[in-house]
Symmetry: C2
Subunit: 238 residues, 2 copies
């Protein structure tokens, strides 16, 4: 069976967390919206009133007859099937818990440049974006990154992974979060290696995994850009 | 075994979604922070560097030796154990997917009154709150509520439930979301029964379930107030 991933064709966004899991698992998949007429097919599925389990928004994954939405939910599904989560129920819930905390963080990242409305341009909420970003960098990033550093430091399976002694989708997601922060806030993240050594080491290790490295070097990896969740506005980075 | 729920003692907040599930399941639990020295115990657990699986924030649930965090993750755990989710894996993932969409909605509700920073007072971000709330009510509420109405209308198990033909934790969460919106935005929600008939009917039915009705009438139900996620500011409600 070949998975179909439905996500916006021009950004990494939330879809990237699914792409990384599919790539590491070497699972056959089509990134539908990046194929001819793919985005129209995605929008048609979102509007399809005949679906028993309609997704609220991209990303969603078609696996055979099933359509699964919500990034963390897709990873819960893929993690169990492709060895990207611990084998025990407790380990799986813990990995999922970490993923949900990444999801919370992502909303906050998005709102640094869109604190008022996703439907307005950045320029229409620039003043508010500056205020929100200042609070985000001063208070929220240390809270989240300090937390994940602590999770690594206290992992009974060792500080090389977030959950257990093997790679999980949470590790892949941590890689993506660090990569995104490095793109969006290069000045602030320059201080991270000293503050969050385990976390930055895990980011570097994931980037070197053969399948991930091959993916990152391929055209399948959409570059970071100013339409995604992680955006670089120099005036917000301090 | 008696569960221990850890959440702030003075608000419904995210903890309320867990309380509703525990009450409907008639599961023995202690609302720890509402007992003597309970909030201190909660904060001590959050600061405890010795935990293998530390929660990022309340709510979290202690179940025997396990500590489980993230509201939707706690419900995933409880739903399976207490018959508050479908029996099939596909049904469980679908119920969880709906819960994650409620979680997304909740963040947006919170940010109507705190669009800049959770650490600032409402009065310090009142102008931004007005802008954000206007967009929330005009664009986001119709998107979310229209979606859940559609899920009910197209549920193969019938429009009386969100997932399958029996009550799930997603139905309880829908009740709570409608209750909160009715408190926070009474003017706007007055138009809901005509627009979202299935959704409002489900809210009314959940409120009448014997265990939920008994809970709502008890002192265990903390009233809505101006410290929670759902807050009523008349100037934001239009």
């Amino acid at each position: 069976m070949r998975y179909e991933l439905y996500y916006w064709s021009s950004i990494q966004g939330r879809g990237e967390f699914v792409r990384l899991a599919l790539e590491e698992a070497s699972a056959p998949y089509v990134d539908v919206a990046r194929t001819r007429d793919g985005e129209e097919r995605m929008l048609a599925l979102l509007d399809n009133e005949g679906l028993a389990c309609p997704p609220f928004a991209p990303p969603f994954l078609r696996a055979g007859k099933r359509i699964i939405g919500q990034t963390a939910n897709i990873l819960l599904f893929l993690g169990n099937r492709h060895g990207l989560a611990p084998a025990t129920e407790a380990g799986r819930l813990w990995t999922h818990q970490l993923q949900l905390t990444f999801a919370d963080f992502l909303v906050e990242v998005h709102d640094t440049h869109h604190p008022i409305a996703a439907g307005l341009y950045y320029e229409e909420q620039r003043r508010e974006a500056k205020r929100r970003s200042a609070d985000f960098l001063a208070n929220r990033v240390p809270k989240y990154f300090g937390y994940f550093e602590r999770v690594l430091a206290s992992n009974p399976g060792g500080p090389a992974h977030l959950a257990g002694a093997r790679l999980s989708y949470a590790d892949l997601s941590l890689f993506q979060v660090v990569a995104g922060m490095t793109y969006a806030f290069p000045k602030v993240t320059a201080r991270f290696p000293r503050r969050y050594p385990h976390l930055m080491a895990l980011h570097a290790r994931v980037a070197k995994r053969p399948r991930i490295a091959a993916y990152l070097a391929s055209e399948r990896r959409i570059p970071f850009n100013q339409d995604g969740i992680f955006r670089h506005y120099a005036e917000l980075d301090r």
